[in-house]
């Protein structure tokens, strides 16, 4: 357990020294600029635009970081051969993978917290009110990020970063489209297509279940059961992907 923490902290340190956090600066500028421009373009609800774009940016930046850093988690260690010295220590493979995962997931959470703070400041400046209710959307975003990160990690245990980046991106996109696809196909009379939609739906993570953004921004009540179920869904899915990564990584040679 302690060794996992050591590895996690080191991974976190790596992300700090690799200046991943510069992306936060980009986030701040982008969000500010966007919301100001859009706020001027739309008549009326400026604060809504800020919230919409803020949430979208938090999720998008999070996903980008999760993918770009996650895909190189394990593979980069092998490519740069840093893994030999690490794994020659008395640690097991699963400690290594979990340490890497937790370190990066911690990084992601810090990013989300900073971005959220930025969004709140912007909202406060515009409205003199802090929109605490946005957490109902941000917490599911965090869960989604964890899931995406686990997927990136899974791919990075056995394919090159470029390919795993592509694959993770595909999972992200498909994960958001399967629901639409299923609904669309349900109205058609094509059993083969329906079957395909079902297979897709149940074999890819359904990321739309974690999308509460629109409802939160519009102040529509979200049933607690749905909220809890969605989060448990994401958490279980993440654990499953992690277990799969461990299984694969544990079997392979570190050459």
């Amino acid at each position: 357990m302690k060794k996992i923490a050591v590895l996690a902290l080191n991974t976190f340190r790596e992300s700090i020294r690799d200046k991943i956090f510069y992306s936060l600066l980009a986030f701040a500028v982008l969000m500010l600029g966007f919301s100001l421009i859009l706020g001027n373009l739309t008549i009326g609800d400026e604060i809504k635009i800020i919230k919409d774009f803020g949430l979208a940016a938090i999720s998008l930046f999070g996903v980008l970081i999760a993918i770009f850093v996650g895909i190189s988690l394990v593979y980069k260690e092998m490519e740069k051969r840093t893994i030999y010295v690490i794994l020659a220590n008395p640690i097991s493979r699963y400690q290594f993978v979990l340490g890497k995962y937790l370190g990066l997931s911690f990084t992601l959470m810090v990013e989300v917290v900073v971005m959220t703070a930025g969004l709140f400041v912007l909202c406060y400046l515009k409205q003199q009110l802090i929109p605490w209710e946005l957490f109902m959307a941000i917490v599911p975003i965090c869960f989604e990020l964890q899931l995406i990160l686990a997927v990136a990690l899974l791919f990075s245990t056995f394919v090159s970063p470029f390919l795993s980046g592509m694959l993770t991106l595909a999972v992200f996109i498909i994960g958001h489209l399967t629901l639409d696809f299923k609904v669309l196909v349900a109205s058609l009379d094509n059993p083969a297509l329906k079957k395909t939609a079902d297979v897709l739906y149940y074999s890819f993570p359904n990321l739309e279940t974690l999308n509460f953004k629109a409802r939160v921004v519009h102040g529509i009540d979200i049933p607690w059961t749905e909220f809890i179920f969605s989060l448990s869904y994401a958490a279980t899915y993440t654990i499953m992907i992690l277990a799969l990564s461990l299984y694969i990584f544990n079997k392979r040679d570190i050459r």
Binding site: R17, T82, V85, N89, R255
Partner: protein
Amino acid sequence: MSTAAISISGVSKTYRTGFWGKKFVALDALSLSVEKGEILGYLGPNGAGKTTTFKVLLDLIRPDSGTLSIFGDPADQKARERVGYLPENPYFYMYLTAEETLHFHGRLRGMKGEARKKRIPELLHLVGLEHAKSRSLKKFSRGMLQRIGIAQALVNNPDILILDEPMSGLDPNGRKQMRDIILGCRDQGKTVIFSSHILSDVEIMCDRAAIIRQGKLQEIVQVSEMLDNKVAHWEITCSSLPENSPYEDCIVHKTKNQILLKTNGEVEAKKMIQKIEESGGRVLSFGPQRVNLEEFYNQSGKEEK
């Protein structure tokens, strides 16, 4: 039966490469054991399987068959607590400083804070990196990385050291330091196995040397006994050879002014000298040569072919 420090028995490993999983036998039923407190040199041509052996020992690579044990126990996570490893061309996290790297590895080996604080300055001193301890490894030279590599391997004072080409990349001074470190480890009762292409190093330091070729153990040489061995051949340096002499075959090396000859028996050599002097040549030097590792190494290579 006393337990060996490292015992490898019947280990085979086949790599599969490329799209079609083409097979390549890297280790072929390799058996080898390293006794407690000895220094074993591990020799073999490039691609013989030395690095592979080490990786199998450290569970980085899973063998197809065979068993590996360290002090009688399976070579697993627990056993690695007693092992320090220096990979060939060690790579570290470049964003860490030398000191941080050692602390990191110390933590991974389960060392407590105080123990690390005491041990790490000692190690930095030992490998001569005190001046660079808070420089990030990005700015380290190849040899400095090698030094930090050995320091890292020693961080928790392990009983066994596995060093993959420890001398590579080091300057003459560094080589001497590395030799001293390794010999010092033996004095502390540690067991060392290291691979090398520099035979003289092995000759100087090792108790035994193992030669591996194409994944098979070819020979184990008792280095100390070998050095006590009888004379292997005689060497004569002279200024010129008599014309049509029967010694053309004996020439090892020839420059403008000097010719180096090599012959097996003492009697033969004396005869040679006589002939040379009779024909007006000058003998510049003459003496016996003892068997060295190079000979063994080359011989076992020839037998193979």
